[in-house]
Amino acid sequence: MNYARVLRGAAGVAGFLAVAELVGLSGLVDDRFLPRMSVVLGAAAGLVADPDFLADAGATLTVWALGLLLTVALAVPAGLLLGTLPRAEAAVRPLIEFLRPIPSVAVIPLAILLFSDNLHLKLAVIVYAASWPVLINTIYGLKDVDPLAKETLRSFGFGPIPVLARVALPSAAPFIATGIRVASGIAVILAISAELMAGGSEGVGVYITEAASGSRIDLMLAATLWAGLFGLVADVVMVAVERRLFRWHHVRTGGAR
């Protein structure tokens, strides 16, 4: 990501905010329904010092992190297993292809019925939804491993497990990392969706629901803004980590300079 691109992106955002503000000022939109942009931004700044919101944000962050961790802990080994056992993969492939396109948010009502514990409910829907990209990318990454690289280690007398650990896994790691990054975005969406739909005592979703019931649309939008910003920052950080860690991969595929 170079400087000029960042600058252009910032200009785009600033332009959007300015237009939104102008629309608000022009009186085209009743600002009881849609507060002016400056009001929303002010509210967003205010939230940083609001202990209620901070507690909710902390709760959502915790659920997000736990959910992502669980996702990685489950989906990566599952992907490794399916990626190395083509027959098992062939057996579960139709199931994956059927379940994956179902909008993840649609499983939340089911989860509400199944789980009595609010945290379990949220973690379950996050893991369900976020596992797909990790699983698929892990399987794909393993299929993409150069057979000659594996044969090289085999020829030096390494068995199947060391070959998996020392060649297949590092070689698939960039794909797995991309899957985890996508999963991170999904986890944010599912965490907040679950909070919105299932309620509970804490979380950004709960904060938004409460702001709505108090007709505080400015606070609703401000909280939403923070959620979006968090997703963005998480993504940018992960892209940077990927570039650093997997420079060998990006250089070869021409993805980075």
């Binding site: 000659l148 690289a149 280690l153 085999r154 030096f156 007398g157 390494f158 997997f246 060998w248």
Partner: protein
């Protein structure tokens, strides 16, 4: 040590090896020459247990080769794909040494020594994708030599380096082979090279491939890049291998169809 009997291999309906028989004694360096596509790499992969040949027998020290034999190293023709891009050159060389029970420090030292031998003393921290083809090829040679296998298989190992480096590497392989009693099967397209490094030269036919000739190179074990190549015996042997590769019999030239695509 290595004994190949009536080795046959087909890819689908395409018969590549048509009954190759060949044996290699302990400590011997056997060069294999043959036209492009005749199945030299296939032969090597069969010996390494990486593919299961359609027919024939391969024994190593009397034991049939069913999986990858212990104590073997290969320099693959496709050297760049056989290096691990996520590891530095030194780590690439050091990795197989885990099998030798060396600790981290010993592995590092052995790797640096091997890189030094192939003229890459300063490139240990470079990654394969930061290196030229010739450098990558030398890393993969260093990796095989550092492993000190009892059987070393080399598939056109010097194809991407300049003439001077090539001569140095030929001598390096001869030295290491002599010092550590390695048995080497070396595939090459270069007739001159096959005679210079070989104790024997095995000439293969077009596929379905059989052994066209198996020549003993009686030039002694000590070879010298200049003196050896000037010997009458060397010149004679080189001419003979050249004729055989072109499909002629010993001592006379037949049709000039060049079956050797690249030299």
């Amino acid at each position: 040590m290595l004994k190949i009997t009536d080795l046959v291999h087909s890819y689908g309906p395409h018969r590549v090896l048509g009954g190759v028989s060949l044996s290699v004694a302990e400590g011997e360096l056997v060069s294999v020459v043959g036209p492009s596509g005749c199945g030299k790499s296939t032969l090597l992969r069969s010996v390494a247990g990486l593919i299961r040949p359609s027919g024939g027998r391969i024994t190593l020290g009397g034991q049939p080769v069913e999986r990858t034999p212990d104590d073997l190293a290969i320099v693959f023709q496709d050297y760049s794909r056989s290096l691990f891009p996520w590891m530095s050159a030194a780590n690439n060389v050091a990795l197989p040494l885990r099998r030798k029970g060396l600790d981290r420090k010993q592995r590092r030292e052995a790797a640096m020594a091997a890189l030094d031998q192939v003229g890459l003393a300063d490139a240990g921290n470079k990654y394969p994708w930061e290196m030229s083809g010739g450098m990558q090829q030398r890393v993969s040679i260093a990796r095989a030599l550092a492993y000190r296998p009892s059987l070393l298989l080399m598939d056109e190992p010097f194809g991407s380096v300049d003439a001077q480096t090539r001569e140095d590497l030929e001598d390096l392989v001869l030295n290491v082979c002599a010092h550590h009693g390695m048995t080497i099967l070396l595939i090459t397209h270069d007739i001159d090279e096959s005679v210079y490094v070989g104790d024997r030269v095995v000439v293969l036919t077009k596929s379905p491939t059989v052994v066209a000739a198996d020549l003993v190179i009686d030039l002694g074990r000590i070879r010298d890049q200049i003196a050896t190549r000037q010997l009458d015996a060397f010149v004679r042997l080189r001419a003979e291998v050249g004729r055989l590769v072109r499909g002629g019999g010993t001592g006379h030239t037949t049709e000039s169809t060049s079956v050797l695509e690249k030299k």
